[in-house]
């Protein structure tokens, strides 16, 4: 690699991209190119239709050699898109790749000033002048290569998290699967059937749950939450809180010297437990004891004590007998695991639809949510699969379905987005009613039916043929007859242009979905951004839908935005593939934006040491005085220390004070008047 000598006059090449008409449509390229050629230190200025194309990149490579350039400026799109491309070209030309600077004249110029060509051209000139000023002061930098821990973590064990964990494990990677509830399976295990194939949800899910349990590379950590995260790609130290379950697994029992003991899932403890609580898995529609499992197919089959309601009577301890599985004094445990990459699959919750009082949820007995419907129609649910209405246990013959309940809602109460799978599951619910209850009629109140997936539209036709009534219109309100507890749905049929008032026995609200309650806390621990609605933000909506802006952290499933099971599984497989790449490569390069101490300026005051969020700085004795020292592997390059050093003794590589001052000066003092 060519080392540019110190004190040598900078020799900068500027390359202006047309990006077809994306930039050239509003920026006068010729004028900008000529202007760039007139700037101090610029020895060559050129333009090309598409700088990112092979000929465009070759232009940079050739110019570096021909003009012995010390720095390269490309004025094109955002550095967030093509900085890596042009750094590579710079490297190919024989320069250190960090002697490259990009001027963003597309996203932050031509695209936002489309009808102001003069202003856009002036702004592009300024942007290039600023970039040239920085490029003139850039230095050779060398990325640090760090080894990647050969292990991964998946947070959330719904169908997405399980699939991701299985893929990673099957690729030979040790995978920690962390789940906050006592069992894996997530939302999908609460569903009865899945659209459009009408597969039994549990029947297709439980084999995967068993696979996860049996996989030697998966360490299953149920009833466990992420407590803290330190480190960076390749080397995350994740602290986990293993919540006190009160029940020992056979392995844990053996570790305590109880031979042949531990929970075997017999359930004798449940029979004697005197405390009765609503079962959250059944959405409160069925009871459970203080010692419980969610449902018969839980994985792992280990009982859990709810210590918030347990009265510690000890009856379960006696019932458990020689297995000695129950420990009423069990405490939470903290453990730290080291992993190279992390996948977040934290799923969703149901929007609290009682916030829309016009539909009467929690006010009228016979208004339920779709998830409650799933449990009521499910053979393993609280009613054994017999659909009854809550007020009197009667079989409903007329059922109203309210779609977009809280979704596509711009009132500020609900959610503005489409929840994406409610149309399809409501069609499925309509089918199930027709199938199970002879003569039953579903009334589906919809805004639009979004049946966009494979075989979805066909399913929609099938339900139409089966006799479901479709009424296109948003439901204004629902009223209850206090005697019969029947409901009157009031809406406008927008296709007929007249109001309708339909009497039904039961109403099912297809409530919107929202990020699960833990999503916000978890994303902050991992430093992942979110979109305005709280869904986790992918690195790029189209080209990097599984990645995040935190290197080494990936997304799977609904936590990134509403999606159905096929899409969740597909994204999970994508995330697993992405998360396995650094692990299989074995090493990752960290951008060398480290802080450096300019020791002759450092007074050893130590202010920076406390400012650093990563404990990367420390004070050391050197030549009889204290100076700051940087641990490069810990430094993430934020520059918080460099922004505060009273002596200006911290050199932030690639964002050094003289470089930034040069940019400010170039803009304000260097322009044409």
């Amino acid at each position: 690699m060519a080392e540019v000598k110190k004190n040598e006059e900078p020799r900068i090449g500027v390359f202006v991209c047309h990006c077809g008409t994306n930039i050239a449509g509003s920026v006068n390229i010729q004028e900008v190119k000529d202007y760039a050629a007139s700037l101090p230190n610029v020895v060559v200025s050129n333009d090309y239709q598409y700088m990112c194309s092979t000929p465009g990149q070759n232009m940079i490579v050739e110019a570096i050699k021909e003009h012995n350039l010390s720095g390269v400026v490309v004025a094109a799109c955002s550095p967030r898109l093509h900085e890596p491309t042009f750094r590579n070209a710079t490297k190919t030309g024989g320069l250190n790749p960090f002697r490259f600077e990009m001027a963003n004249i597309r996203e932050q110029n031509s695209w936002v000033h489309m009808h102001q060509p003069e202003e856009a051209t002036k702004k592009a000139k300024d942007a290039i002048r600023i970039a040239v000023a920085k490029a003139s002061l850039l230095q050779d930098l060398h990325p640090k290569s760090v080894p990647v821990e050969k292990a991964a973590m998946v947070v959330g064990a719904g169908v997405g998290g399980m699939q991701a964990a299985l893929d990673l494990a099957n690729a030979g990677i040790k995978t920690y699967l962390v789940e906050k509830t006592p069992t894996i399976g997530g939302r999908m295990s609460q569903l009865d059937k899945t659209f459009p194939t009408l597969d039994c949800s549990q029947c297709i899910l439980t084999p995967k749950m068993v696979d996860v349990y049996r996989n030697e590379n998966i360490e299953l950590l149920t009833y466990t939450e992420v407590e803290g995260v330190e480190g960076y790609i390749g080397n995350f130290d994740v602290t986990l809180r293993k919540k006190a379950r009160g029940v020992l697994t056979p392995d844990e029992a053996e570790a305590r010297g109880i031979v042949g003991g531990g929970c075997n899932g017999c359930g004798d403890c449940v029979d004697v437990c005197p405390v009765i609580k609503p079962n959250p898995f059944e959405l409160g529609m069925a009871p459970r004891k203080a010692i419980y499992i969610y449902h018969p197919q839980v994985v792992p089959l280990i009982y859990t004590i709810d210590f918030d309601s347990c009265v510690k009577c000890g009856l379960c301890v006696d019932a458990c007998g020689d297995k000695k599985a129950i420990d009423l004094e069990m405490q939470d445990e903290l453990m730290t695991v080291k992993v190279g990459t992390v996948i977040l699959a934290t799923g969703y919750d149901i929007f609290p639809i009682e916030k829309k009082p016009e539909w009467g949820y929690k006010n009228y007995d016979n208004v339920i949510t779709s998830l409650e419907f799933e449990r009521l129609i499910c053979a393993s649910g609280p009613t054994g699969g017999k659909l009854i209405r809550p007020s009197d246990g009667a079989t409903p013959k007329r059922v109203g379905f309210v779609l977009c309940a809280g979704s596509r809602d711009n009132t500020g109460v609900g959610r503005p987005y489409c929840s994406r799978f409610c149309c399809m599951y409501s069609l499925k619910h309509a089918h199930q009613i027709i199938e199970k209850i002879p003569g039953a009629v579903p009334y589906i109140f919809y805004m639009d039916i979004r049946s966009f997936g494979k075989m979805y539209e066909e399913f929609y036709y099938r339900i139409q043929d089966e006799g479901a009534k479709f009424i296109r219109g948003r439901v204004a309100n629902i009223l209850e007859d206090p005697e019969t507890k029947n409901l009157y749905i009031k809406a406008e049929d927008t296709l007929l242009g007249r109001p309708v008032d339909v009497e039904v026995d039961m109403v099912v609200l297809a409530a919107a979905v929202q990020p699960s309650a833990e999503t916000e806390r978890t994303r902050r621990l991992f430093g992942v951004s979110c979109s305005q609605d709280g869904w986790l933000l992918e690195a790029h909506p189209k080209l990097n839908p599984c990645g995040t802006t935190t290197a080494g952290v990936y997304l799977a499933g609904v936590c990134q935005g509403p999606k159905d099971i096929p899409d969740t599984v597909a994204q999970a497989e994508g995330a697993a593939s992405a998360a396995s790449i650094p692990i299989h490569k074995g090493a990752v390069e960290l951008e060398p934006y480290f802080a450096q101490c300019i020791e002759e300026k450092c007074a050893g005051c130590g202010l920076c040491v406390n400012l650093c969020p990563y404990q990367a700085l420390s004070l050391v004795e050197k030549n009889g005085r204290k100076v700051m020292q940087v641990t490069e592997a810990k430094c993430k390059g934020c520059g918080t220390c460099g922004g505060f050093c009273p002596g200006g003794a911290i050199w932030m590589q690639h964002f050094a004070t003289p470089q930034i001052i040069a940019q400010i000066d170039a803009f304000l003092l260097g322009g044409e008047e």
């Binding site: 955002s78 597309r106 300024d126 934020c638 520059g639 922004g643 930034i660 001052i661 000066d665 304000l668």
Partner: protein, 141 residues
């Protein structure tokens, strides 16, 4: 008030992860906003030495915008808190040297807030246009 040919010079020092990404998003969505602001990218607003802002004003900037992630969203945990503290203090300094402290503005624009970025720029430009040229402008150069 300003002479007719005056065009405001506004420096925006913005963080890579939130506000710069938000500005890129505004571009992708073709949300049009006034062209008077020039952006300088840093990795985090925590990097911003008050010196940078004073230098910009010394150089004759009419306004400075500092924009980072929302509180709690900082890519580097807490750089934006530290930046906000510094900017708060710096506003006092600006007042003491006779500059209207509205010439310095700190905002929080996330990577998903393209429309908000456009609004912020519009707002900043309007504020600076109302305030007129910086009184330090004639001393610059």
């Amino acid at each position: 008030m300003a002479d007719e040919n005056w065009e405001p010079k506004i420096v925006a020092i913005i963080c890579n992860w939130c506000s710069y990404a938000g500005a890129d998003l505004a571009g992708g969505a073709r949300i049009q906003y006034p062209p008077d602001v020039r952006a300088i990218r840093v990795m985090c607003t925590g990097r911003i030495d008050p010196l940078f802002i004073l230098k910009a004003f010394q150089d004759g900037a009419d306004g400075v915008l500092v924009s980072g992630c929302h509180f709690g969203d900082c890519h580097y945990l807490e750089g934006n808190y530290k930046a906000a503290k510094r900017m708060f203090l710096l506003k006092t300094v600006l007042k003491n040297i006779g500059l209207d402290d509205r010439r310095l503005r700190m905002t929080f624009v996330s990577a998903s807030e393209g429309a908000k970025w456009a609004k912020v720029i519009e707002d900043v430009v309007n504020t600076i246009r109302d305030l007129g040229p910086s009184p330090l402008r004639e001393f610059a150069r």
